[in-house]
Symmetry: C2
Subunit: 111 residues, 2 copies
């Protein structure tokens, strides 16, 4: 349970930091969307570039059964590396964005 609280804190910190340091500027905002109850954490860029609507879900991370699932990463940074650097155990990171049958060939966690 202590680990779960720690993982929640790490994921929230990480996405908040992404939102802070990756502003696209202009009329585009980086928004975190944190569903605390269901442990779903997103980072969304939205706004306008002139008349063009910008909308992109950049990051989507979930915590399920004590593991951190990376469901989406549209950035060029490795969330896995960032999570490892923050103290998350490798076997607790699940690459949800990789097909299930390929996950066993990564060094990350599988369900």
């Amino acid at each position: 349970m202590a680990k779960l609280a720690e993982y929640r804190q790490i994921v929230r910190e990480l996405l908040t930091e992404y939102a802070r340091v990756n502003p696209l500027g202009g009329e585009i905002e980086s928004e975190t969307v944190f569903d605390i109850e269901n442990d779903r954490y997103l980072l969304v860029d939205l706004g306008w570039k002139g008349h063009k609507r910008i909308y992109a879900c950049l990051l989507h991370v979930e915590i399920k059964n004590g593991k951190i699932w990376i469901q989406r990463n549209q950035t060029d940074s490795s969330l896995t590396n960032a999570l490892l650097a923050m103290g998350v155990a490798k076997e607790d990171i699940v690459l949800g964005l990789h097909p299930p049958e390929l996950r066993q060939y990564t060094e990350s966690g599988v369900i």
Copy 2:
């Protein structure tokens, strides 16, 4: 304040209902992501169609300054009509997905 509580309830009910009645089946899940603290409400479809990753943010609604902002709608249903049917005042609906300078020509709210 009573109106705000009512609008929150309406938005949450609406997206929960979309998640329930619009299952794509197979290995694709419809997830609501509700950020209660910031009043951001999303509906995301994610999963697999064979080896192909499916990820789509279908709906994104926010409540800001007492108004309901429709930031994204990738469904074929009108969120405006659904909100109106649930008792939301037309001037309290802002079409965030329309360019700001065009919003004045809709009958919906402008900021």
